[in-house]
Amino acid sequence: MRFSVTVFPGSNCDHDCEYTIGGLMGQKVEMVWHKDTDLRNPDCVVVPGGFSYGDYLRTGAIARFSPVMKSVADFAAKGGLVIGICNGFQILCEAGLLPGALLRNKNLSFICQNIYVKVEQTNTPFTSQCQKDQVLKLPIAHGEGNYFIEPEGMKKLEGQGQVVVRYCDPQGALTEASNPNGSLKSVAGICNEKRNVFGLMPHPDRSCEAGLGSEDGKFIWKSVLQSFSGAAR
């Protein structure tokens, strides 16, 4: 399977993605500079974490106008798989490919730690290899991960099963203490209506080796690979 990782000035998880998807999962990875418009014929686009444009103005606000994002939007509109991790999630929200926005963490601190999420939806190309309500241990590292959407937007998200993962405790309970950043209804990751665009704050790119404290990120990548091998191509 062919993955393209977008690279913005200030991206810093682009190489984590390359290492994980290419090195550990054995897939073909192309790095695409943000000024390129040619995505190099990928099966899946990864918008990685980092601090694109220094997080100036709002996280992801300037990156969304990079030339590559027009190509990513076109690719997504044709049904192509797009996953945005951390800053990538913020960029996809700013670009309007996903609804809502990521605000400053409730405690105003940058949070870097392992957390747990509960997989609420398994009928997405990104979570098909998870069990419903499976708890994944994944790392987060962000200052703006506090998901917000107006009440009617949340109603729509929940009604259509677009909330894919929520922060939880190790046993899978959604508690205030296990919601690290104050996200509305503990939302950690969502997909679009067509379910081909997925954004999440936790890092499946940094959790695929025992030495890193968790291998649960592999469930996400294996799901993507499975969805591709299952597709009629």
Binding site: L57, R58, A61, I62, F65, C93, E94, P99, G100, A101, L103, R104, N105, K106, N107, L108, F148, I149, E150, G182
Partner: protein
């Protein structure tokens, strides 16, 4: 003649502002108990050249705010256009 545009971007009332709440608590502790609300925002100064008339300057200011300076999901904006 040119235009000086002052843009104020603030979080919508429905959006929680933990930064504002922290500043309010600090002010209350500093001896300003009458401060009952603080909302933080962003202030941006734009300079437009004289190729635009006032109406066009306002139109472009709206465009710039809608596209980049404010995120309509969470923020609202207002601005003033002043002749320089």
């Amino acid at each position: 003649m040119a235009w000086h545009v002052n843009v104020f971007v603030t979080l919508k009332p429905s959006v929680m502002d933990p930064q504002g709440a922290t500043v309010q608590r600090a002010l209350n502790q500093m001896g300003y108990p009458f401060v009952t609300g603080v909302r933080m925002g962003k202030f941006t100064e734009l300079e437009f050249d004289d190729s635009l008339n006032e109406e066009e300057a306002k139109k472009k200011a709206d465009e710039i705010c809608d596209k980049l300076l404010a995120n309509p999901n969470i923020e609202s904006y207002r601005y003033t256009v002043v002749k320089k």
